[in-house]
């Protein structure tokens, strides 16, 4: 299709990496909300400060799904610090670019990662990521 998306986006959209749920994960993050039409949920397992496993579930458009997929791929096996350094721009670039109106999806992907790490830190150290606050609070939480 000659649609709005690059080939890379379409590849990740049609064949998303790391889809699914981790049972009893070390951290869960959820960002977005039904109003804007994108909800991303990420599950991580962490060992020795390294993200050993990551899964996502996304309700949203093509860009939302492919940025989720790309973001998980980019940080799987990386240290928490490296994962926290992931920017939405890097995700978009790795996908060969996004239409301007879809850039907010890459922001959500970045925030979903941070939110999962925040959750992990809260659970392990008692305090979350300093200063972290996703753009919009989800209206409902689907916590396990």
């Amino acid at each position: 299709m000659a649609g709005p998306y690059s080939e890379k986006v379409m590849d990740h959209f049609m064949h998303p990496r790391n889809v699914g749920v981790i049972e009893n994960p070390d951290g869960i993050g959820q960002v977005g909300n039904p109003v804007c039409g994108d909800i991303m949920k990420m599950y991580i397992n962490v060992k020795d400060n390294v993200i050993t496993d990551i899964k996502f579930q996304t309700f949203g458009c093509g860009a939302a799904i492919s940025t989720s997929s790309m973001a998980t791929e980019m940080i799987k096996g990386k240290s928490l610090n490296d994962a926290l350094a992931l920017t939405n721009k890097a995700v978009a670039e790795a996908l060969g670019g996004l239409p301007a109106v879809k850039m907010h999806c890459s922001v959500l992907a970045e925030e979903a990662v941070k939110s999962a790490i925040d959750d992990y830190l809260k659970k392990t150290t008692g305090t979350g990521l300093p200063g972290f606050k996703p753009h919009e609070e989800p209206l409902e939480k689907h916590e396990h």
């Binding site: 889809v19 458009c61 860009a63």
Partner: protein, 380 residues
């Protein structure tokens, strides 16, 4: 790959007979209808013939038809034309919450210029209650604009009743019939102004018409030359007008209401049989014969569309993602859908070239897509 077009409400192909009728007016009979010479007069004759055909589709007389550049211009012309000509009487306009943007944005423009707009709500089927309209009319009301049928959910509004109320109260009544003209019979509808767009019924893009009842007090929208009896300036789009006339003629002889209704209902039944947790948006029976609109819970519209497109199926959605805005369709919100349900809407609209096979193909193709996307979704 198989290509199945189920987006006839967005636009239709120009019928080959329509195109054939237009052809001579590009090069051989290319004159400007305002010119006094042969080249001009043969073009003028062609547009007058087209005007008669267009008028006939709605039982109007030819001089009540003004050609425009499409549905949007017709809507803007009707609303601003009445507003600017009658503002001495009052600056109040009544419309509904489910109008096309061509009506609602135009009202928005007027609201910034001192007009007051009342937006009548609709029920869960998308129906306007004529009583609500009646209650809202004041002595400052100059125009009521309620669409004939909604472009997203296909609900057909009780226009005759609303027009009757408007008439009784001496208020102009406009209806946007862009989705109904050429699809279901229209007989002036008792309206003062009716908007059409040719590309919605197998005519060319970029041409439309506004029915203006004789005696309607309004100003023109495009200012300039004396074309269209001073009602719409600009050199006439002769091939477009000729094409619109032909499309009206074809539609009059061949509205496929029964065929479309059968296919539509088969499609609705098939969807409900095969996909759990879906809802039908719009009215079950007061509905355009070619419109199906469902919400597929827990998944989002654009994802569905892209997956369908990769399988060769063209459809549309009221999801925000497909419009470039952040909000889902105002129509789906007006009928009371939750945001995430609105985002999961899918509109399938049928037409002249839709076959049984197309429906079968859609019903084979869609369920696995839904399954796949639901598996990815955090919602349940």
């Amino acid at each position: 790959m198989k290509r199945v077009y189920l987006d006839y409400a967005a636009t239709t192909p120009t019928h080959p007979d329509v195109l054939a009728e237009m052809q001579p007016y590009f090069f051989l009979k290319f004159g400007n209808p305002s010119s006094i010479h042969q080249f001009g007069q043969e073009a003028k004759a062609a547009i007058e013939t087209a005007r008669e055909k267009t008028a006939k589709l709605i039982g109007a007389s030819a001089d009540e038809i003004v050609f425009t550049s499409g549905g949007t211009e017709s809507d803007n012309f009707a609303i601003e034309g009445i507003a600017f000509a009658n503002e001495k009487k009052g600056k109040h306009i009544i419309t509904s919450k489910i109008e096309h943007h061509a009506v609602s944005e135009c009202c928005e423009f007027l609201a910034k210029r001192g007009f007051t707009i009342t937006h009548i709500p609709v029920d869960k089927f998308g129906l306007v209650d004529p009583e609500d309209v009646k209650k809202t009319i004041t002595d400052k009301t100059i125009l009521i604009s309620i669409m004939h049928a909604n472009n997203e959910i296909g609900t057909i509004e009780p226009i005759a009743e609303i027009a009757g109320i408007a008439k009784e109260k001496g208020v102009y009544f406009h209806t946007d019939a862009v989705q109904t003209a050429g699809h279901i019979p229209i007989n002036k509808l008792n309206a003062d102004l009716i908007s059409f767009s040719a590309h919605k019924f197998y005519g060319p893009k970029g041409i439309g018409a506004l029915y203006i009842k004789k005696g309607t007090r309004m100003v023109s929208f495009l200012h300039g030359g004396a074309q269209e009896k001073n009602r719409r300036a600009s050199t006439e789009n002769v091939p477009g007008i000729v094409g619109m006339g032909k499309a009206c003629e074809l539609a009059q002889n061949d509205m496929a209401i029964e065929k479309e209704t059968i296919l539509r209902d088969k499609l609705i039944k098939g969807l409900f049989d095969q996909i759990p947790e879906i809802v039908l948006n719009g009215h079950p029976t007061l509905r355009l014969p070619n419109n199906v609109n469902i919400s597929i819970k827990h998944i989002e519209g654009e994802s569905i569309l892209i997956n369908l497109d990769l399988m060769g199926i063209a459809a549309s959605s009221g999801s925000a993602c497909t419009s470039g805005s952040l909000d889902p369709s105002h129509v789906l919100m007006a009928i009371g859908l939750a945001h995430e349900v609105a985002h999961g809407s899918l509109r399938l609209t049928l037409g002249k070239y839709t076959t049984d096979d197309d429906i079968i193909y859609l019903l084979e193709t869609l369920p696995p897509i839904v399954k796949k996307l639901r598996a990815m979704s955090p919602l349940k």
